[in-house]
């Protein structure tokens, strides 16, 4: 399955096994979602559970929070991350706080899904990556898969999670590649980073659509005898710094690759944590390969805006030089 199919399959699994699960969003029903992620679900589960909503993102998330409070497990789709801004009030003022505000008397088992990221020659507002903003909001979980297998396992975990999860889907690789994905349900634990390949020379970390690039960079470097360890963060909130720090302890060198604008992207937090706990183990300053502090550009300039193999490899060389 590719990632779209894996996510669709996860939704299908969970809707089938738990009739409290339902989906709401723009065009998620008849149209099957603009990326076809919810394709076929309305036919199987009906329009009461696969709800084509009016065009109102704050309303969608607010409505979904209400459903969650009432005992359902809503999955809200926001068509593009660029249209998630109007939901931040509902997410930060309520979804993320209601358990804490009521000491567990009320809870919000909500999933908000949104495709995110650039590199698909999209119109403005269709290529944003502001995941770090979500990770700054206490009480949310923020999960980002980088492959079909994880996408399914992490989404199922997110749906079953008793707390609100924002699930960001790197649309650049929605149909980028296929993998074996079991038909039956399985879970991948939220809050655990994954060492994708081991290595001793340096640590490469990233998430989402940066992972395939990082893996390719690793391959190219391997040809020169450099063994990079590759870590997929998978969840930026909670953030599994143990796994990253263990790797840095070993390699002493780290490059963090992030598509989002540079200032205060999640890489900043990764590096701050390394400073807190692992500075003495660093043999070179940590290096950030990031997007720039500009809105994601119109597509003629998009290749300039995104980290690429070349930049990842040059950054790796730089930290290895020390």
């Amino acid at each position: 399955m590719n990632m779209v199919e894996a996510i669709n399959n996860a939704l299908h699994n969970e809707m089938k096994s738990d009739d409290k699960v339902l989906i709401i969003g723009e065009d998620v029903g008849k149209d099957g979602g603009v990326f076809r992620v919810t394709d076929g679900l309305i036919q199987e589960f009906g329009e009461d559970r696969v709800i084509d909503s009016p065009l109102a993102e704050s309303g969608i998330v607010g409505f979904a929070i209400g459903l969650a409070l009432y005992g359902f497990k809503p999955i809200a789709e926001i068509q593009f991350m660029g249209f998630l801004w109007p939901c931040l009030d509902q997410l930060s003022s309520h979804a993320s706080r209601i358990r804490n505000r009521t000491w567990g008397r009320y809870t919000v088992p909500l999933v908000v899904r949104a495709p995110y990221g650039g590199g698909v020659r999209a119109l403005e507002h269709h290529a944003e990556s502001f995941e770090s903003i979500l990770a700054h909001i206490p009480g949310l979980k923020v999960v980002i898969p980088s492959n079909p297998y994880d996408a399914k396992g992490l989404l199922i975990s997110s749906i079953r999670d008793p707390d609100p999860v924002v699930f960001l889907e790197p649309k650049r690789i929605y149909r980028g590649f296929k993998e074996e994905v079991p038909e039956e349900a399985y879970i991948e634990e939220i809050g655990k980073a994954k060492v994708l390949v081991e290595g001793d020379d340096l640590t490469l970390v990233g998430w989402g659509s940066m992972i395939p690039k990082i893996l390719k960079a690793r391959e190219l470097m391997l040809e020169k005898g450099i063994k990079a360890e590759v870590i997929d963060i998978r969840s930026i909130s909670p953030y599994d710094y143990h796994t990253v720090h263990k790797s840095v302890e070993k390699t002493g060198r780290i490059v963090v690759v992030q598509e989002a604008p540079r200032t205060l992207g999640f890489a900043s937090e990764i590096i701050s944590r390394i400073n807190d706990n692992e500075m003495l183990n660093l043999k070179a300053p940590a290096f950030r390969v990031t997007g720039f502090d500009v809105p994601f550009p119109y597509y003629k300039m998009e290749e300039w805006a995104m980290p690429d193999l070349d930049r990842i490899i040059k950054a790796s060389r730089q930290v290895l030089k020390w």
Binding site: L22, D48, R49, I51, S53, P54, A56, S58, G59, V61, G62, F63, A64, I65, G66, L67, A68, L69, Y70, G71, F72, P74, P86, D89, Q90, S93, H94, R99, N100, R101, T102, W103, G104, R105, Y106, T107, P138, G139, K141, P162, D163, G191, P238, Y239, Y241, H242
Partner: protein, 359 residues
């Protein structure tokens, strides 16, 4: 404007023939809410509770609508619904706790289907619609009542929420406590719409203008809207025309923006006085009964304060334990740090006096 008794307590609408028990209950909750509000104001002035938004003048709106609900109906409040809050079964000490800056004020009893107060204006509205959708999907014959102010009708979430309700034909009753002011902004500067009730037209369901200082009108209008909702006929918007007799919050100075004349005029329409006169005309109200109610209320209020003021101390854990079902490693580290800091504290800051209130 739908009205049963006028400002002088005279029956001007159809006699609803409600039974005495219910009428007495209405009166009791209004008196209790008013007295609790009075007391809260005193406590605030003594520094025993923090900033809070008095409810005086709006008791009929809150009590009339609240008593029309069933236990199984849900309520999504704003922050100025003390009457409803109490009559639904939330102990008064919770309210005191809340305004003492104690988060435990929000632990609503398990059997009470109220959400705690919503501070960010209007944000409760789409949530109330989602909950109602869930109710409908669960084939429950219940409804969700959602409160908000006149100011709230300007927010996007009001419009998005009501639009969802119209589309999904949810069992919602929206009650706008139009108390004529949103802090210093008068109703006519809040929207050019002639009434708030007519805003429902934009969402395809009925809106009704009700005298919010008439507890009977509020009771009947809400009852009818709830019946509509429960029988699958969809949402209703009720504009409860009322008035905030006190300040917006204890940090507010209403003399900056409204006139004494206006205030006096509305004091004449006091919802409790008018209902008392009506009950007296029915032979239900007496001075002795009034005394009885007041004594009972005083006693309850005193006990609530005692409970709130004597609650056990909060622990550092309480800052972190309810963030997620399970605490994550970062939070555990932060909690450890906090505990260590408190255990080894060397410098006590004498918190400088904080000037300048907030609304």
């Amino acid at each position: 404007m739908f009205q049963i008794i006028d400002s002088n307590g005279k029956l001007v609408g159809l006699d609803p023939n409600l039974d005495e028990k219910l009428l007495k209950e209405m009166y009791w909750w209004m008196v209790y809410a008013r007295m609790a509000d009075d007391k809260a104001l005193k406590l605030q002035r003594q520094g025993r509770i923090g900033t809070f938004p008095p409810t005086t003048g709006q008791e009929a709106t809150q009590v009339g609508s609240g008593l029309a609900t069933d236990k199984e109906d849900w309520i999504f409040p704003a922050f100025r619904e003390l009457g409803t809050y109490l009559l639904r079964g939330i102990p008064l000490e919770k309210m005191f706790l809340y305004f003492m800056g104690d988060v435990r004020g929000n632990i609503i009893p398990e059997n009470v289907r109220n959400l705690p107060m919503y501070v960010p204006v209007s944000t409760q509205i789409p949530q109330a619609v989602g909950a109602a959708y869930g109710m409908k999907l669960s084939n429950k014959k219940n409804a969700v009542v959602c409160f908000f102010g006149d100011g709230a009708t300007s927010k996007g979430d009001f419009s998005e929420g009501l639009n969802f309700a119209g589309i999904f034909n949810t069992p919602n009753v929206f009650i706008c406590q139009n108390n004529q002011w949103a802090i210093s902004v008068p109703r006519k500067k809040q929207t050019a719409s002639k009434t708030i009730a007519q805003k429902a037209i934009a969402y395809g369901f009925p809106g009704i203008l009700v005298d919010g200082n008439d507890v009977l009108a509020m009771y009947l209008a809400t009852k009818e809207a709830l019946e509509r909702a429960k029988s699958g006929d969809g949402p209703t918007l009720i504009e409860a025309y009322t008035y905030r007799l006190r300040m917006h919050t204890t940090a507010d100075d209403p003399t900056r923006y409204r006139t004494d004349e206006e205030l006096k005029e509305w004091e004449q329409r006091d919802p409790i006085t008018r209902f008392r006169i009506y009950l007296e005309s029915l032979g239900i109200w007496s001075k002795e009964w009034q005394k009885e109610l007041e004594t009972k209320a005083e006693d309850m209020i005193k006990k609530a304060i005692e409970k709130a003021e004597n609650i056990e101390e909060l622990k550092p854990e309480d800052l972190f334990s309810y963030m997620y079902l399970e605490m994550n490693p970062s939070l555990t580290e932060q909690l450890d740090y906090l505990k260590k800091m408190l255990a080894t504290k060397e410098i006590e800051e004498n918190s400088e006096k904080i000037e300048g209130g907030f609304p």
